[in-house]
Symmetry: C2
Subunit: 369 residues, 2 copies
């Protein structure tokens, strides 16, 4: 892996009026674009889907595949700096942008590592951060060996491209081990031991160009079928747990030479130990509560970092419960519009599909001192 | 004046995914557009200036004069409902839109009245709301007569089109009276007596399609050369003053059969009496503090009203000081970016002109219980 020293590069603060490019135009790009406009920036979106959610709130969209060299050249010409809304942008695209003199934050190193679950967990171990035991799996024999070591249950995941619970097969019974590798598709995989967690937590943190790191208060998350359903934040954890999670964020950000917002999913074990489940080199669904709970939200924080500005204040002013609106739950909008504590954030997606993230709602529960 | 019964009309709540049109694409249109996107709406801007501030955060701009019939027809075709960011849209444009079956809120009546200072103050008097003494002035003789009645100082304003201190001449010395009418340009004018106010306040209120009215806490404003410099809110006023201002907002909204957010500027006299200085049928600069001080901000509140949704909660959670960034004050952004209490809102205007509103900053001073 190429090591770019992002934080050592000449990345002067972008003045208002500059143009920020975002690779990916879904809901995360949409909310990043709005945050960028608030700071006086124009935004250009590169996304293969015409009229994607972010394009409706941005100055321009280039409709093209992420690896289209001509589109990337035009993108580089239009922008002063580029960031991304999701980790599955091909690293080759970043290479083309960098070759055109366009800085991309958080950078190719963060992307290359987080696109591959084995590289990611190996990297975490090298940083001194704990994960569940894992093994790279390339055939059923390797799976049988590793499963014998890890016990049951355990989970087989594709090394690349899985998200929201896709690309994984649980192994609960001894006989599952014979079919799991084929059921996943037979490609490069990772076996992960089961973590007997008591809670799922996440920490959203940001690192600036100057190397400053600021973390938001932890969120406590509830998943269903691998999809985030809701977050409660600030999570009711001891100061020690918040502190330990912030140290993990520190190690990960420094290890990746990271610039921007990062989302780190954690398992809390009964003894208070924290294991990292996965890291996302971008703004994160479990950080949406910051929009109505914190002085600076994760979207503005990311734009500040990418623009080379100082980070904003991550203090929470309110206790928030964030609920995702999945599929036809969007049809609850008339009731939600009536609730004085419900802050709606809808994504402008025209097609409703089961499980599709259509919006979220932040319920402001109480003010914090 | 035509009286449209807006609140009696069939205006069902717009579902997310609907298109809201905004006449005018300056900073108010920009912030309205962002609020609309948060609720899942697409926005089309009609503005004669290409790439206006609002267009950069909207799905589409139609670049045309406000009275271009073809542009208005296209606008009506694209939108499900239309609103406006400023009161000087020609009423004829609204008539064309209404003729094309397009509801425009807050409507032609509110516009026609607030476009003319004499009509506005006459209307206020008819509602039972106090203003300074005033007289319609069509020549120097009328001016001499009215000035004799009102004493000195007093202020001569054009009946139409004045804003941010433009279109007014102060009469401070007896001899000024001979030249003032000509200095203003010789068109239809209004003479206003001087109000010996102790404070300038404003109330931002909203009325929904169903007739519900909600006011924000009062702001205390400081003007310089007729331009708003800063607002402090919630203003430190007695509950009686807040109550009286809310009653004024009630009378004005009902009198105009209003739907949307309205800004009402007030003079507070030494004895606690409130006089209305002027009303703006739109979101208002002195309401920008609500973005970082209230559960619902004035922009979302306006979109809720226009979309036929219930109004949001107007409670303040924070004490805020709003400062406008005028002209090259925008160059203070590096210092402001460092201040953890400074929430920046920049308008994306490329050309800096003296006194031009380039952005504003909300300093969050303290949390309220």
């Amino acid at each position: 892996l190429r090591i770019e020293a992002l934080t050592g590069r000449e990345l002067p603060p972008l003045p208002p009026g500059s143009v920020i490019g975002i690779l990916g135009g879904g809901q995360l790009g949409r909310m990043l674009s709005v945050a960028a406009s608030r700071l006086g920036f124009d935004v250009v979106i590169l996304d293969p889907e015409p009229e994607c959610p972010a394009s409706r709130v941005s100055a321009k969209q280039i409709t093209a595949r992420y690896d289209d060299p001509q589109a990337l050249e035009e993108f580089a010409r239009l922008c002063h700096r580029v960031t991304l809304e999701f980790e599955n942008v091909p690293v080759a695209a970043l290479d083309i942008l960098e070759a055109n003199g366009m800085p991309v934050l958080p950078g190719a190193r963060a992307l290359a590592i987080t696109q591959d679950r084995v590289l990611e967990k190996t990297f975490l171990g090298e940083c001194g951060v704990s994960t569940v035991p894992f093994a790279a799996i390339d055939d059923t024999n390797a799976l049988i060996g590793a499963q014998g070591q890890f016990g049951l249950p355990c989970v087989l995941k594709s090394r690349r491209e899985g998200y929201d619970g896709r690309g994984q097969v649980w192994i609960r019974e001894p006989q599952d081990v014979n079919t799991a590798f084929a059921r996943l598709g037979g490609g490069p995989a990772i076996l992960e031991a089961y973590a007997p967690f008591v809670r799922e937590l996440s920490i959203i943190a940001a690192r600036s160009v100057s190397g400053d790191i600021q973390a938001f208060p932890l969120a406590e998350n509830r998943h269903e079928n691998g999809i985030l359903r809701s977050s409660q934040a600030p999570a009711r954890v001891t100061p020690q747990i918040q502190q330990r999670a912030a140290e993990i964020a520190d190690l990960v950000c420094r290890g990746l030479d990271y610039v921007g917002v990062i989302g780190i999913e954690l398992f809390e074990l009964a003894d208070g130990q924290l294991l990292v489940n996965e890291i996302a080199p971008r703004v994160h669904n479990s950080g949406h509560w910051t929009q109505d709970g914190c002085l600076t939200d994760q979207f503005e924080q990311h734009i500040r970092a990418v623009a080379g500005w100082p980070l904003g204040d991550t203090s929470a002013h309110s206790q928030v419960e964030m609920h995702n609106l999945l599929g036809d739950e969007i049809s609850q909008w008339p009731q939600l519009a009536k609730d004085p504590r419900a802050h709606l954030h809808l994504y402008g997606k025209s097609e409703v599909r089961p499980g599709r993230k259509m919006g979220h709602v932040n319920f402001v529960r109480s003010r914090l001192a």
